[in-house]
Symmetry: C2
């Protein structure tokens, strides 16, 4: 079987575009996150929970990645913020060129916080720089505590892990001690928030963390 | 940005190898499933639950796909059946050439049932024929009921859906009516088993289904 590899070129092209996007986002002081996670980990639910806290003082927009549907964008739209749907038509991750195009459709003049919700996938999105400041990974206790070692690239490249559905902890075999041991063995600088979108546990702390990052980004303006 | 597409060739190569594998599996009357699902949907747990029922009368082997670890294979090994770990080194799906190689390491002489547990991913594995008789998709109520429309290729190509963690139904917003409406709109012939690996609900029915398929495959032998 003959096979050629083009991944290197694709990633180089992606990185070049991401660099240009990043320059633009930096010049406009827009704190940007790449929101990652398995299908059903709760990425959209987490966003819905923090929007009100963030938008008290800051402007926020969301780029929603999905294979075909507009389901998540419709959920976000109800919260009265700018949301743009990007459909990949089956592709398993967003790339920097999609973000480049998306930025033409978002009002970036007064924007403080941009969230890019990636495709639900713990493998492919890890390799694609979307010009974010940080990668934020949502994982849930119902998925099991073995995910860090099974999908290490994701945990290695993320600055923040949101451990969601913590209200269901007692109903699962999730071993928190092992989870923390594993994530720190992969990435000792990773920050973890334990939250529940159902009980609201940890939502305030998570919102405050993002608000601080937004403030820091803006303070570099002067 | 210049980009060439090689997906077509890769898929053709894959299909050619899958065809040869399928011929071999058919000649040996080995009923084969490609077990799919999100990370944490419960693919390995489902296997652990049905092994004892199947192996009362039939020989079973498992090919365990994983990016890097042997965690799932070690779980299956405890049940005293033949298990082979395939590590993709980061690749997001198994392919037919991996199965071709794996078949050299499995005792296929007396084998009745081969399970190929794919990488946890609802996107990429959908396109790769692994020479299975059927694709079986595990999804769980804690992932939400929106998965069929969000990842339609998976549901379209699967013959069986295992709706896992049904014991947690009341603790989630999972809308069963919508779920069934959506899956049948994508694939009207799909068979659904509602199960719980915790309460054992539906495990017997699921095991019986596989046993019948194994029997049917063997009966074609003569």
């Amino acid at each position: 079987m003959k096979r050629i590899t083009i991944e290197k070129d694709v990633l180089k092209n992606n990185n070049d575009i991401a660099k240009r996007n990043r320059e633009f986002l930096k010049n406009n002081n827009i704190f940007t996150i790449n929101l990652l996670g398995s299908p059903g980990a709760g990425k959209t639910s987490v966003l819905e929970k923090i929007i009100d806290n963030i938008t008290l003082n800051y402007n926020m927009a969301v780029i929603e990645g999905d294979l075909y549907t507009t389901k998540d964008a419709m959920r976000i739209e109800k919260h009265n913020i700018d949301v743009l749907q990007v459909n990949t038509g089956g592709a398993c991750h967003l790339d920097a060129s999609m973000i480049q195009k998306s930025l033409n459709y978002i009002n970036t003049q007064q924007l403080d916080f941009l969230v890019i919700e990636n495709i639900g996938n713990l493998v492919c999105p890890a390799s694609y720089d979307l010009s974010e400041d940080i990668k934020v990974l949502v994982t849930s206790v119902t998925e099991g505590n073995d995910k860090p070692l099974k999908y290490p690239s994701m945990f290695q490249r993320s600055s923040v892990v949101i451990l969601n559905k913590i209200d269901m902890l007692e109903l699962t075999d999730f071993d928190k001690e092992e989870f923390y041991k594993d994530i720190y063995s992969i990435n000792r600088d990773i920050k973890v928030f334990e939250i529940s979108c159902r009980s609201n546990e940890g939502i305030k702390e998570l919102s405050d963390y993002f608000i601080n990052r937004i403030k820091n980004k803006k303070s570099r303006q002067y």
